[in-house]
C-alpha cells in the first residue's frame, strides 16, 4: 500500500470544514475551485511538486522527508537538552557554553523550513485545508519565539550559571518543550487526520 497522496478529487470540488481566506467557502458548503484553491493546485501541479509526489525516486518524497526527520532530531534534540538543563535536570552542566550549539539549531531549523516547504508544495491543497497543519505551524511559530526569548533573556543574563534559574526562564523552557511536543504530535497526525489523506 503506497502511502503517497492521490491528489485532489477530480473537478476540484472540496468540502471544506473551515472558512479559508480568499475564497467563497463557508462552513460545510460544497464549493467550486476559487482563486485560492486554484493557486494551491497550480503549486501542486508544478513540475517540482509532481516530481516530489509521484516520481517514486528515493530522492524525492522519501529523501526530502528524511532530511526533515534529521532536522527534527537535531533541532529538538539540542533544544530539549537546553530546556531540560534550565528545568534543573543536569546540574553539573553549565548552560552558557551551550550557546555554541545555536548555529547548529538554526541550521537544522532552516533545513526543516526548506524541506517542509517542498513537502507542502507537493501537497498544497490537502495540507493547507487541514486544520492540523495550522496547529503544527502555530506550535512552530510559538516554539521559535520561545527559543529567541530563551536566547536573549536566559542566555543573555550576565548572572547565568552563577545563580539558580528564575521562574521566567523555567517557564520559557517548559513552554519550549510543550511547543515542540505539539509540533511533533501535530506533524505525525498529518498522515492520519484532516481531509483526503495526503502525503
Amino acid at each position: 500500500m503506497e502511502r503517497w497522496s492521490h491528489g485532489p478529487p477530480k473537478g476540484g470540488h472540496y468540502r471544506c470544514p473551515l472558512p479559508v481566506k480568499g475564497s467563497r467557502y463557508t462552513k460545510l458548503d460544497v464549493v467550486e475551485s476559487t482563486g485560492f484553491m486554484a493557486f494551491l493546485q497550480t503549486i501542486e501541479n508544478l513540475g517540482f511538486s509532481q516530481w516530489v509526489k509521484q516520481s517514486g525516486s528515493l530522492w524525492a518524497f522519501p529523501g526530502i522527508l528524511l532530511m526533515h526527520t534529521y532536522g527534527m532530531a537535531i533541532l529538538v534534540g539540542v533544544i530539549a537538552g537546553i530546556d531540560l538543563k534550565i528545568l534543573g535536570l543536569v546540574p553539573a552542566l553549565p548552560l552558557a557554553p551551550m550557546r555554541k550549539f545555536f548555529p547548529l539549531v538554526w541550521a537544522a531549523f532552516w533545513v526543516n523550513a526548506i524541506t517542509g516547504t517542498m513537502l507542502l508544495m507537493a501537497d498544497a491543497s490537502t495540507k493547507l485545508t487541514n486544520p492540523d497543519f495550522g496547529v503544527k505551524m502555530l506550535c512552530i511559530v510559538l516554539a521559535v519565539i520561545t527559543q529567541r526569548l530563551i536566547q536573549t533573556r536566559v542566555f543573555g543574563d550576565p548572572e547565568i550559571d552563577r545563580r539558580p534559574f528564575q521562574s521566567q526562564a523555567k517557564m520559557l523552557a517548559a513552554a519550549s518543550l510543550v511547543c515542540w511536543l505539539g509540533a511533533i504530535t501535530a506533524g505525525r497526525l498529518l498522515a492520519y487526520v484532516g481531509s483526503a489523506t495526503g502525503l
Binding site: L89, L181, G182, T185, L189, Y192, V193
Partner: protein, 32 residues
C-alpha cells in the same frame, strides 16, 4: 468514540508526563 486528534495528543501527553516523572525520579536518586 473520541476523534483521533483528541485521543492521540491525550495519550502522548500522558506518556510524556510518565516519562518526565521517571526522569525526575532518576535525577533525584542521583543527587540524594
Amino acid at each position: 468514540m473520541m476523534p483521533l486528534w483528541v485521543t492521540v495528543p491525550l495519550i502522548v501527553v500522558a506518556g510524556v508526563l510518565v516519562t518526565g516523572l521517571l526522569a525526575y525520579v532518576i535525577d533525584r536518586s542521583n543527587h540524594a
